[in-house]
């Protein structure tokens, strides 16, 4: 604590400056409205849970359908798998040059990582703003 008393702003001055004055309007907050606003949130949770459950049911159904097709029409299933593998190879062929580009010393990975983080941050920020506007 190297500050001398003369170097400090007087506490009474600070108190006077920070306290509410008669000409300062203070908004009213309604507990009931806050309670209602808070209750509207669980709907989003239910929606998320419903979406998750729906996705799970869809996945199980798709798996069942696929198993049935594979059992009934083995050749069709083979063709579908071959097509999927070809598509994966095609995508990999596209991605390899991009990965090579990213591996170039002239393109620092930190720059790409920073770009990714910035995009994620911006998306999150927009979502928060949208949420704040809605609430």
């Amino acid at each position: 604590m190297s500050e001398r008393r003369d170097d400090l702003l007087d506490e009474a001055v600070l108190r006077r400056a920070l306290r509410f004055e008669a000409d300062e309007r203070v908004p009213r907050f309604n507990a009931g409205a806050i309670a209602l606003a808070a209750q509207s949130r669980p709907f989003a949770r239910y929606a998320a849970a419903g979406a998750f459950g729906g996705a799970a049911i869809l996945a199980v159904t798709a798996w069942g359908v696929w198993t049935a097709i594979f059992a009934a029409f083995p050749t069709v299933a083979d063709a579908a798998i071959s097509t999927a593998i070809d598509a994966a190879v095609a995508i990999a062929t596209l991605l390899i040059p991009i990965a090579d580009f990213a591996a170039q010393p002239a393109v620092p990975l930190s720059l790409l990582a920073a770009l990714g983080v910035a995009i994620l941050y911006e998306l999150r920020d927009r979502r928060e703003h949208a949420h704040a506007d809605a609430s």
Partner: protein
């Protein structure tokens, strides 16, 4: 939990009879101070109102789990200060808007004032501008100490910082404020 908290908000008298502090009571009793703390930290009315709303919403959601043997005031102040800090950080990204210091001096009453009041108001605005310009580390304890009138130990409870550190931070803050005010004279 949601049922209890919403009932306590909607039916405060019934819960008060059970000897529990209701959320509605807490809001009624502390809303001015929470808004004031947010306003002095942020220096902007809209942002302070937003911070207070968010703080009260968070408090409502955590009301059932809050330990009622501890002072509700400190708990609410902690939430409000954290929300204000959070909003302040968000706002630093939008520096194109009016500065916090400018907002801090905006007053709704534009009626002419006697010279003495005018001088006092200018002095008050200068101090508020200086407080709004303090780094966040110092601004929060200054507001809690000189607006909310909390003791160092209480500020330590609210902020989670050691009391000894807070003592030093308050001294440094006052020194910084003095320098800032002398620089603007």
């Amino acid at each position: 939990m949601a049922l209890h908290t919403s009932l306590s908000a909607l039916l405060p008298r019934a819960f008060a009879r059970m000897g529990r502090v209701t959320f509605a009571d807490a809001v009624r009793e502390h809303q001015d101070e929470l808004y004031g703390v947010a306003l002095r930290i942020l220096g902007d009315r809209d942002a302070a109102q937003d911070a207070t709303s968010r703080a009260l919403l968070k408090a409502f959601r955590s009301w059932a789990s809050y330990d009622q043997t501890r002072p509700v005031r400190h708990w609410l102040l902690r939430i409000a200060a954290n929300e204000a800090i959070s909003i302040g950080r968000e706002r630093t990204r939008d520096r194109d808007r009016r500065t916090a210091a400018d907002d801090a001096i905006e007053m709704p009453d534009r009626s002419p004032l006697p010279d003495e009041s005018l001088v006092a108001r200018e002095e008050r605005d200068r101090v508020r501008r200086a407080v709004a310009g303090l780094p966040e580390l110092y601004r929060v304890p200054v507001v809690l100490r000189y607006f909310s009138e909390l003791s160092i130990e209480e500020i330590a409870t609210v902020t989670g910082r050691p009391a000894s550190t807070l003592g030093v931070q308050l001294l440094r803050a006052r020194a910084m404020l003095r320098s800032a005010l002398e620089a603007t004279r």
